[in-house]
Structure formats: structure tokens, C-alpha cells
Amino acid sequence: MSEKQTVLEVKNLTVSFYTKAGKLTAVNGINFDLHAGETLAIVGESGCGKSVTSMAIMRLLDEKTSEIAPTSSVKLKGEELTKLSNKEMSKIRGNAISMVFQDSLTSLNPTLTIMSQMVEPFMRHQGMKRKEAEKQAVEMLRKVGIPNPEVRAKQYPHELSGGMRQRVIIAMALSCKPAVLICDEPTTALDVTIQAQVLRMVNDLKKDLDTAVIFITHDMGVVAEMADRVMVMYGGNSVEKGSCYDLFTNPLHPYTKGLLASIPKINDNSRLFTIKGTVPSLKDMLCGADGQE
């Protein structure tokens, strides 16, 4: 893995939000590298900063209410993303780096056909004419396993099932063969069989296109299935990083141990394990707190 090219380099990523309670830090100095064709899982419970991390990499956070600290650095194939203008960044989004969101129902525009949403990245980033983009879009839909893609493309999102919509979104995200794909809990809203299909599909496409994947989830089963490496987050900090195998066999941080112990076991009738307490609200977090006792 290490001989592969590093595509994404995140250094000291710190994100704060301006709120009525003052400036709150949601992500506190995250570091990680991502190599081509590798899958990094970011795990942690709700509110630990997983999504904010990915939104900050994509520069999708509202600049009026949030701030990426000037000391942060996000390098995509050597190009610094945090200093780009919004216009320059929009040429990278959906092209070299793209993202799949959680809720497939609301992530597609209800008033536009699948086709008119699918052609957009081709026309925007590859300068294709509509006709050509349509051909590519159908091709892409076929690749993600949508039967009858020509017919489906003419339909509206509400005419497709949840699993199909999520496939459309993944197809859209992969249409420009991005170097990095961020999946923010892409299977949470799907039922388990569809979930397995979608995960397998992401894995296959990843190998096909040599795309690096950041997989955000709180499902340890999905982590074991998908990830090469894992980063555990708690309260905006990265508390443990390691290969998937190491993390499951030999967790070091007490929070990681707690997280793993929380997975229900099928042959165990004792009470379910819970991690004591709740994730502290951002404004209660002390500077430098990282979950260690």
C-alpha cells in the first residue's frame, strides 16, 4: 500500500463554528494521508466531527458561519485546497474529489429527471455537449447496476427506490473518475440487503477506477467490510488510527475499546454495553481535551 501514490494529505485540519455561544471548535487538528485505491474509514458516534471533517475537505461548509483555521492544510495531489477561491474549488468538486451523502431521498433534486442531474458533471467538468453527456450518463448508470438505464434516466427521483437512488448518486459522484470519493454514511438509510449490494458496488468501482475512498460510518460491520485503515474520532479529535486488522484485534484507546464492546454479540445474553456519558457539547469541551482519562 505504501508504494502507492498519496492523493490526499490532511494536516492539522481545524474547523470552528461561530455561534451565539462563541467560536466553537468542531474538528481539532486532524491529520491523515490517503493513498490511491485505499479505503479509510472514519468512525465515531454522532456529533464527533466526522461529517464536518469531510465537508471541510470539500469546502462545502458555509463560510459565513464557519472557519477552517489558517494553519490547516488539505492537499489533493499536492494542490492546496483550503486557500482556493470558491470558484476554483467548484472546478475540483465533483471532478477530482466528490462526495456521496447519507439520505438518497433528499439528495436528488425532486423536480429534475435523473438524466438532467446525471449529465451535469460531464458537461461542467469535461466540457461535453448534452448529447455526448447523455450517452456517458447512461453508461455510468449501467456501471452501477441500474437495469434499463435508458428508461430510468428519463424518470424522476421519486419513481426510483432508495437503493436505486443511492446508486444514481454514486454514479454521479464517480462520473468524472475522481481521485478521492468521500462517502458520508451512504448506506445508513438503506435496508441491509441493499446496503450489502451498494457496498460491494463501491468496492468494485473503487478497484476499477483506482479511487481512494473515505468512508464515514458508525457501523463497525461496514468498517470491517470496507476499510483498509481506520481513524476513530471522538469530540473533534482523532483518538486512534491504524489498520483495520490492528484496530479490531488490538484497540489501544479506551474509547475505541468501548466502541468495539458496543457491538452486540449474537451468542451473548448479557446486557448491551454502552459507553458511559454523552458526547460533550462543543462549548463544554476544554481546549485540548481529547477523550483521554
Binding site: L60, R93, G94, S98, T106, S107, P110
Partner: protein
């Protein structure tokens, strides 16, 4: 889509007959009869002569007979003769509908042309100077009574500055040119526009704010779409729906005209005709106006339903 339209049309026809029955009853419940207007006290007519007039006008028949008599004629295109102006109601309506539509449609279009972009910018730049500025305009437009705005405009532009005429459609005694028409229309139109942009701007603004926080907007941005595409392709179509609804609700006043504004500016439209025929207990004219308005409103609603369908494909598949 075809079945959808047919269904909507059938409902509209049922609604139409309902409306005519109710209006006919309400009109006849108004205190006083047409005879009171026609036969002034001290006219010297004998009771028999009055009864003769009553009989000739069909006013001695039971209400239900009068209604069906009127309905039969109406369906053959005969709206009767105005009691107060002695002219066929149809001719009166045709004289008045033009000026009213001219005034109301142009002011609605201008109001939308101002309100939609203004509301969109205000929503896009929520809580900025643009937003607060448009809110103030909206509150003034909505809050100030039309008659006050109308009188204020007349005072400033007609009396003080002398730029624009204060009443009528053309200068008295002239054949009327287009520029004259525009000059006469300016003030009533401005009054109506100001009254309308308030609601439309606020609605557009709130709808834009709501749409911009939707997931599909984030998806569009994540695809790298330019802000222009995000706004016009992904947001506007969704955000327009509430505005389409309230523009649709404005339909009756489009045809019916604004009584207050037409009265103040002496605009020869439906509003003034309506007021005069109510004062004169002129049943045929009142019914004629009602029928015309309800037909336009019902047809307009069908068109609106189709427009909704075009804006949002989720609507009406099974309806």
C-alpha cells in the same frame, strides 16, 4: 396527464354550477329589489302598473324558477339586460374587461418581475443588507392601505409635480394614443404593484432560504456546479411553487378588478361596474360579472394545477 386534466375540468364544471346557485341566492337576499331603483317614490305609477313591470321582468316568479330561467338564457349566451343601464350585460362586460385585464395583468407581471429576483437575492444573502432592505419594502407595500398609497401618489405625481394624469384611461375628448394610455396607467399600476410585491417578495425569500438548505442543493454544489446553476436550475424551480400559488389566488382580483383602485383612479373597469351594479341591485349585471369571474378563476385553477405538475413531477400522478 390527460386524465388528470379531464378530472380537473369536470370538477370545475360542478363547481361552476354551485357558484351560480349560491350567488343567485345571495344576490336576491340583498335588501331592496330592482323595482325600488326603477320605480322612484312619487313616480305616479299605479300599483297595477308596478305589478305589470314586475311581471315583465319575471320578478313575481319563485326564486328557483327565476334561477333556471336565467341559467337557460345564460347557457345560450344571453346574460340578460342590465336593469340600471338598459344595455345587454354581455356588452357591458366586454367594455369593461379589457381595461381591467390590462391594468391587473400588467401590474401582476411587473410585481412578479420585481419580487422574484428581489426575494431570491434576499434569500440567497439572508440576514444581509439586501435581506433587510427588501423586508422593509415588503412591509411598507403590505402595510400601507391601497387607498392611502393611491392618494399619496396622486398628490405627489399629479398635483405637485404634474407629471401624470390622476384619472381615466385617456385624456377627455381625445381618441387616445398608446403613450396616453401608459401615462394614465402608471399611477394605478404602481399602486397595485406596491401592494403585491410585499407578499410575493417575502414568500420568495422564505422559500429560497428553505430550498437552499435542502440536501439536493448541497449535492449540486458537491458536483461542482457553479452558483448560477445552483440558483437558477436547482433552487428556483422548487422555490417558485408558493409564489405560483399566491399568484393563482390573485386570479379573481385580476378579472374582478380592484374596486378601490379603479374607483379612485376612475378606471373604467370591472371593479367600478361591480360597485355600480350592486348599488343599483342590478341582478343581471351582478350575475354576469360573477359568472365571468368564476369561469376565469376555474379555468385559471386548472391551468395552475397543470403548471404545478410541470414544476413538480411528484404532484398528481395518482390524483
Amino acid at each position: 396527464m390527460g386524465r388528470y386534466i379531464v378530472k380537473r375540468l369536470l370538477t370545475a364544471i360542478v363547481a361552476f354550477f354551485g357558484i351560480t346557485i349560491i350567488t343567485y341566492i345571495l344576490a336576491s337576499l340583498m335588501p331592496g329589489t330592482p323595482l325600488d331603483m326603477l320605480v322612484q317614490p312619487g313616480s305616479g305609477l299605479s300599483a297595477e302598473e308596478i305589478a305589470e313591470i314586475e311581471h315583465r321582468m319575471g320578478l313575481d316568479q319563485p326564486l328557483i324558477v327565476q334561477y333556471f330561467y336565467w341559467l337557460g338564457n345564460m347557457l345560450q349566451g344571453n346574460f340578460g339586460t342590465s336593469y340600471s343601464q338598459y344595455r345587454p350585460v354581455w356588452d357591458l362586460l366586454m367594455d369593461r374587461i379589457g381595461p381591467t385585464l390590462l391594468l391587473s395583468i400588467s401590474s401582476l407581471v411587473i410585481a412578479l418581475l420585481i419580487a422574484v429576483p428581489l426575494g431570491t437575492i434576499a434569500g440567497y444573502k439572508a440576514y444581509s443588507g439586501w435581506d433587510y432592505g427588501s423586508t422593509i419594502i415588503a412591509f411598507i407595500g403590505r402595510g400601507a392601505p391601497t387607498f392611502f398609497v393611491a392618494l399619496l401618489l396622486i398628490y405627489v405625481f399629479s398635483i405637485q409635480l404634474g407629471w401624470l394624469p390622476a384619472s381615466g384611461m385617456y385624456d377627455a375628448g381625445s381618441t387616445g394614443s398608446f403613450t396616453q394610455l401608459v401615462a394614465h396607467m402608471a399611477l394605478p399600476c404602481a399602486t397595485m404593484v406596491l401592494a403585491n410585491i410585499g407578499v410575493f417578495t417575502r414568500q420568495m425569500r422564505n422559500s429560497a432560504v428553505e430550498c437552499l438548505s435542502e440536501d439536493y442543493i448541497r449535492t449540486a454544489r458537491a458536483k461542482g456546479m457553479s452558483e448560477k446553476t445552483v440558483l437558477f436550475k436547482h433552487m428556483l424551480r422548487n422555490a417558485l411553487q408558493p409564489v405560483v400559488t399566491s399568484a393563482g389566488l390573485a386570479l379573481p382580483s385580476l378579472v374582478g378588478g380592484s374596486i378601490v383602485i379603479e374607483q379612485i383612479f376612475a378606471w373604467p373597469g370591472m371593479g367600478t361596474l361591480m360597485l355600480r351594479s350592486i348599488q343599483g341591485r342590478d341582478y343581471p349585471t351582478i350575475m354576469g360579472i360573477t359568472v365571468l369571474i368564476s369561469v376565469v378563476v376555474l379555468v385559471g385553477n386548472v391551468l395552475l394545477d397543470i403548471l404545478y405538475r410541470l414544476l413538480d413531477p411528484r404532484i398528481g400522478d395518482k390524483a
